[in-house]
Amino acid sequence: MNAPTTLSPLSAPETALRGRVLRLYGGRVSLRWRPRTVLVCLALTAGCLVVGALGLTTGAYRVPLPAVLACLTGHGTGADSFIVTSLRLPRLVCALLAGGALGMSGAVFQSMSRNPLGSPDIVGFTSGAASGAVVEIVLFHGGPYATAAGSLAGGLVTALAVGLLAAGRGAAVGYRVVLVGIGVSAMLTSLTAYLLTRASLYEAQDAQIWLIGSLNSASWAVVTPLAAALAVLVPATVLAARALDWLELGEDTARGLGVPVGRARLVLAVCATGLAAVTTAAVGPITFVALAAPHLCRPLVRSSGALLVPAGVMGALLLAASDFAAQRVLPGTELPVGALTGVLGGLYLCRLLVARRRAARA
């Protein structure tokens, strides 16, 4: 709840439309691209492949790389094939998809709110999803699917309620959204805590693991709906994000340039919340990927735009690598990946602050 409290603009908007333009179909479709951005994306994708190869081959049961490749192409032998395609592959795919969606969602929210700490939390989404899931686990004893549905419903209803409560005339709508979001989040957070005290220890722990966010139960049954939802949401977000570069110049300037500000913000908020929602339903509220991925990309890409695609690839790499480490860091225990991303993300933010302090002193 503390995260989105600071409203400070991102560094000066030097977005300026740079890069090369690719025109297709006689100029009816055009695409602006920067070589550096493409290179960074390729490098990050290579990183994903390396982490994926490591994740698929190592573990309690070693499968050599050629055997893994054979399994992936459908020529594997019994045990190898089961371990690779039914246990490790869905987990890896789930991590990549969820991480990518979180990274993109974080990039949209940070850019749209012009707040370096922006995240789906500012519309109360995460606390609503948590309450929905915990209600489902504790009161209705629901299984994984019911929990996912509960979190999805809780998050979306909360986001809608915050939007409606904050709606109104005047310039300060964005600011009011943040304030109302904090009030609603406070209520829901204490509802969650109350339910945890009322539940049996077993159920409370179940809920606690869900609240940390974990890939331990990732299977094809989780991956398929997630992939289907993302297949719709990712293109929609990328299309909607074209307005972001102008929104970063400030609402008035954007309006002056002919961007329908209200509608663009609404569409973007719906898309980014949707991305976070389906991810949370699949794997729980994993912290810090959405916050850190855009920040990690910015110095690599050397641009202050929205960085949607690089942030997505970076998020996928972050989550896959964190999950790889989380499975191995404590022997005998499968740590939920959310615990690891929390520690790593927090330490990373600390490092960032120390580095800036040195820079300020120099």
Binding site: N2, G168, L179, G183, V184, Y194, F288, L349, R356
Partner: protein
């Protein structure tokens, strides 16, 4: 906002009799309002001693307070409800005060004392205490929680302070977020590996006034007192700080000194409060806004009003939690958010909240 604050800080002489009379009128209104709020607090405190699972008539309460333990009723009053009431008053007042300080120091209407990492520090220390010594004895946990709160606040300060100007608002918030995230992940790892620790921690983590002995009150009182004195002494500097760092410096305020002393006060107040009753965030966030709606932005009145309001809100929530779901109780930390958030949202919608 500007004019009231300036005249409160450097005492710009008002011209003529009318100006002076208006100022004394305002002061009289504020004072009578404060007295009224205090009377309300006393009423709530009396209710808090009398109301509960076992209703005790006022005469009996008075007899117990004066003559000591003779019957079961007397010991309910003296050993259970009296410490609980006192704790509610001092902790509520401390949280309200810490909230005002935090919002003034960071010039951010959304700042709550939890931003300093105090809550998470205390929580992590309590988890460690439960995990290593298997003890949830309140007067043992208090010291751990206090040490954890202090360490976390110091770490946030260190990370957030930059160059000569002292801790800037944005960096403080970032540092607090970072430290809180690391600590909260550590808490979740420990509670995952040790279900017994989780079982005890989930009750502490809600924030409750119940079940604390009188010794806890006396242990935290010196820290709360010191923090409150420090905070009240800063009110003039806080007014100047509200005008911006440069203006404050031009008015002769030591900006860095004010920030450092203010943070020390917040750590004392909020650390001791969290140590005593567990993490309760909503009081510190909402009470300053409620008080500001009545007093305006000047800190001379805002600070005492927030103290009284904070105590009333926490104690009132505690009473409500006792009677709303008999025979069980709902912890005060939960009731404060549930009773307070609708008021807060209503205020936001009326747009009075943005006037920091």
């Amino acid at each position: 906002m500007g004019t009231t604050t300036i005249s409160a800080t450097d005492g710009v002489p008002q011209t003529g009799h009318t100006g002076r009379r208006r100022r004394t009128d305002v002061a009289a209104a504020r004072l009578s309002g404060l007295l009224l709020a205090c009377a309300l607090l006393v009423l709530v405190a009396v209710l808090s001693v009398a109301v509960g699972a076992k209703a005790i008539p006022p005469g009996e309460v008075l007899r117990a307070l004066v003559h000591g333990r003779d019957s079961v009723d007397d010991s309910v009053v003296l050993d259970l409800r009296l410490p609980r009431t006192l704790l509610g008053v001092v902790v509520g007042a401390a949280l309200g005060l810490a909230g005002v300080l935090m919002q003034a120091l960071t010039r951010n209407p959304l700042a709550d004392p939890g931003i300093l990492g105090v809550n998470m520090g205390a929580s992590a220390a309590v988890v460690v205490a439960i995990a290593l010594w298997r003890s949830t004895d309140p007067s043992f946990c208090v010291w751990f929680a206090f040490a954890g709160a202090g360490l976390a606040a110091a770490a946030v300060q260190l990370l957030g302070s930059r160059g000569r100007s002292g801790p800037g608002p944005v960096r403080l918030a970032l540092a607090g977020t970072a430290v809180s995230a690391v600590l909260s992940a550590l808490i979740s790892v420990v509670t995952l590996l040790r279900p017994d620790v989780f079982d005890q921690f989930r009750f502490w983590g809600v924030g409750s006034l119940a079940g604390q002995p009188m010794s806890v009150v006396t242990e935290v009182l010196p820290f709360l007192g010191a923090g409150a004195l420090l905070a009240l002494g800063l009110s003039g500097s806080l007014n100047a700080l509200a005008l911006g760092d440069e203006t404050a410096r031009a008015l002769g305020t030591g900006v860095r000194r004010t920030r450092v002393l203010g943070m020390l006060a917040v750590t004392l107040l909020c650390g001791a409060a969290t140590a005593a009753v567990g993490p309760i965030t909503f009081v510190g966030l909402a009470v300053p806004h409620l008080a500001r709606a009545l007093t305006g932005p000047g800190h001379r009145w805002l600070l005492p009003y927030s103290m009284v309001f904070g105590a009333t809100l926490l104690l009132g929530s505690d009473i409500l939690g006792r009677v709303v779901a008999p025979p069980g109780e709902i912890q005060a930390g939960i009731v404060t958010a549930f009773a307070g958030a609708p008021v807060f949202i209503a205020l936001v919608r009326r747009r009075r909240i943005a006037e920091l």
